[in-house]
Structures are given as C-alpha cells and as structure tokens.
Amino acid sequence: MSMDDKDPNTELANFLAHSLELESEAQQRYGELAESMASHRNQPVADFFRRMATEAEHHQQEVSELAAGMTLPSLKAWEFEWPEAEAPETSSYEALHYRMSLVEAMQLALANERAAEQYYRGFATATDDVPTIAAATRFADEERGHAAELERLIAALPEQGTHHREEDDEPHMPE
C-alpha cells in the first residue's frame, strides 16, 4: 500500500478520515457507556465497555499511523457519511439498560463489530482506488477478527441464569 500525496480530496484521505472518526466515535461512546454503567453500579458491563474503549483507542492509533503525513479532510460530525444515523461501531445510547447483562453488552459490541466490518467491506467494493481498497479490506478483516473474538468470549461465558431487568425497588426521585 502506498502513501498518497497531500490532496485532501483523494479517496484514501476521505476513507481514512471516516475510519478515524469511526474509531474515535467508538472509543468515545464506549467510554461514556462505561462511565454511565459504572455510576449505575453495573461493574461487569462497565469494565467490558472500558476494555472496548481501549481497543477502539488502539485502532484509532493504527489509523493515525496509516494517515501520517497525509492531510485528511476536516469534517464536522454531521458531515460524515454513514449507512445509519451514527458511525457503525457506535452503540446507540438507547440500546442500554442499567441492568443489562454482560452477555447483552457483548452482543451489542458484536453487532457493532459486524456493522463495522460490513461498512469497510462496502467501502472496498465501492471504489477503484487501490490503496483505499487495501486499507478498507485490511480494516474489514480486523473487524472480522474482533467479531470472532467476541463470539468466543460470549461462548465462554458461564451459564447465565434468568436475568431480570426489573428490580424490587421503585425509581428514586433525586430532585
């Protein structure tokens, strides 16, 4: 894969800008979810999301390294083009519940990885630019690997009893 020139309008620059944003959004979101779960005392899920945030940060580093020396387009958050409302690896806030189980959290992350893989594959097939195809394919394969890892983790989880989202206490009124 060759390093490209400084023109921010190349396919690769655009692709890398999107990947960077994807990983950055994923990292930010997992971080927020981790904090939110921690403050609602769902520690196992909080810890899991924290690990996912760290992973996303590593991927972000990878992309940054790949983009070294390039000038990427500077886009506002709403100027990125995604297949859905948010970047593919970003968990929707509304998918959460303070009593979600670890397996549910992992399944959420798994869905994210699959969405990310699909996104990258899609990018690879939609362009003729050789470096872009290479990068997109590489990232897609990485996501496939992450998904597989998560599948293994889920399978390795001990047998879950019935998990209740309901709790005995009524909601509290803080103000």
Binding site: S36, H40, K76, A77, W78, Y93, M100, E170, M173, E175
Partner: protein, 278 residues
C-alpha cells in the same frame, strides 16, 4: 484577530459524569451539543448553557462552558436576560417538556414572541422523569402509567411546534435522540441563526416510557427544505405525527433587541441627576 479554536467534541465535556439512566436520550443531546460546539469552533468562555429543573436540565454541568441551573420553568427567562445584557455571549437554553411547556409555558410562548437571539433545546420525553413519571403536557391522552393520572391524562397533548409557530418563533426544528449527528447539525444551524431558534428533540425516557424505543420506527427525516410560509407550517404542525425531523420552518424576522450603539454617554448620569433640579 483570534485563531480558529480547534477543539474536538470531547474537549467540550466537563469532568462531571451524567447521572442519566443508561438508555436515556439526553446523552444524545449532550453528545450533539459538544459536536456542534466543536463544529462551530465555539469559545467555551463565551458560551453559557442555561436550564431549569428536570433530568435534561442537568445538562449544563456536563459541558465545559459557563452554565446556570435555575429553577423549574424559568430557564428561558434567565437566558433572555443574560443575552440581552451580554449580547456578545452564545446562549443556549435547555430543558424538558414539563419544564418548558407546563410551568415554563408562559415563558416559552413569550420567548418565541420576543425573538431574542438564543437557542432553545427542549428535550421532550413526554413525561416528568425527575419526579418519577407523571404526565406532562405532551404525554399522550391514554398513557396510564402515572399514579397521578391512573386513567391517563385524558387531555390532548400540546403540539410544541404549533405553539412555537403561533407565538412567533422564526426557526423551528426537530430532532430525535436516535440521531445525535443530525441534532448536532441542527444545533449548529440554530446557534448561527440570528434569532430565537426552537429545537424540539424527541428524547426517550428509558425508565418511565420504555415504549418510546418504538419511536425509531416512526421517525422520518424531512427531505424538503424548511417551510417559509406560516400557513403551510401551521398545517404541517397541526396535523403531523410530531416525528418529522430536520429544519421544519424558518422565516426572516429581525431579532430583538435591535442593534443599538450601547456606548454610554459620559455625561448621561450627571444629566439625569441634573434633570431634577428646579
């Protein structure tokens, strides 16, 4: 000559962690506000977030700017007083449907009418979340999950966009918490709009209205440009399902107060005192 400030969205967050329930739509609005601020390159020191009371009113503490967490229903009054006294600041007023359309209803309609250059983001989850789930002015008639109104409110909910239009708001938009990037874009547009900008965000309450996860199936995004005819907007707002997102209406209307040279006349005070001498 200031350099463009190049902060990222996360740089606009304060270190205070939100207490909202996981699953709450307000996280999206917080996310969107920080993205909008980053997109606009807004100066933190010259930005103020003003709120009333309620879950969504907790937001100012979560943003690294100046903030005022006021009393129930009065955020818009604080925000307008602040902006009129300090037109140099960027002022955002925030609150929920109870805060904004019930106790704050009068201030809402007058803020629309007055057209001071602020942005008002109403996070509508059709319930009083903070006080444990009572019906609000936008709760559906037959929602019977509140002990206060066990048979449902039995009263038709307000249509906030229609209220805003009738009261004179020149910029009306809607967002949905499932799409924070769209909300971010709308906030950026709202802040740039030189007048009162009303952004109505359907923001689900996971705890008291879990059925609101169904909203994602009915939310639509407006394809056409915003309406500029009040007549057409009235028709839209009175008859729509309340889930069309995007910039829905905008008109040209000079904001208040008009630009005026506020340089003080040095001798004015002495002149005022002198005016009493016989």
């Amino acid at each position: 000559m200031t350099e463009a400030i190049k902060l990222k969205a996360k740089d606009y967050k304060s270190e205070v962690k939100p207490i909202w329930c996981p699953g709450c739509g307000h996280f999206s609005v917080l996310n969107a506000i920080t993205k909008a601020m980053a997109g606009l390159g807004i100066d933190k020191d010259n930005t103020v977030l003003v709120s009333g009371i309620g879950c969504s009113s907790r937001l100012p503490a979560y943003v690294d700017s100046y903030g005022f967490h006021g009393v129930h229903g009065r955020g818009l009054a604080i925000a307008q007083g602040l902006k009129v006294a300090r037109p140099d600041l960027t002022v955002l007023a925030l609150g929920g449907d109870g805060d904004g359309f019930s106790i704050g209803g009068n201030h809402f309609i007058h803020a629309c009418r007055r057209n001071v250059n602020i942005t008002y983001i109403a996070m509508d989850n059709e319930v009083y979340g903070m006080t444990k789930g009572q019906a609000s002015p936008t709760t559906p008639m037959d929602w019977d999950h509140s002990k206060l109104t066990p048979h449902g409110p039995g009263v038709r909910p307000f249509k906030p966009a229609a209220l805003a239009l009738a009261s004179g708001a020149p910029w009306i938009a809607r967002g949905y918490s499932g799409n924070p990037n769209q909300i971010a874009k709308l906030i950026a547009q709202a802040v740039a709009h030189p007048g009162f900008s009303f952004l109505h965000v359907m923001s689900q309450c996971i705890t008291f209205c879990p059925e609101q996860t169904d909203w994602k199936a009915i939310v639509t995004e407006r394809e056409e440009p915003a309406l500029t005819s009040a007549d057409e907007a009235a028709k839209l707002f009175l008859h729509e399902d309340g889930f069309q997102t995007g910039l829905l209406y905008r008109e040209q209307r000079a904001s208040w107060p008009p630009e005026r040279d506020r340089a003080a006349d040095q001798n004015a005070l002495a002149g005022l005192a002198a005016s009493f001498r016989v």
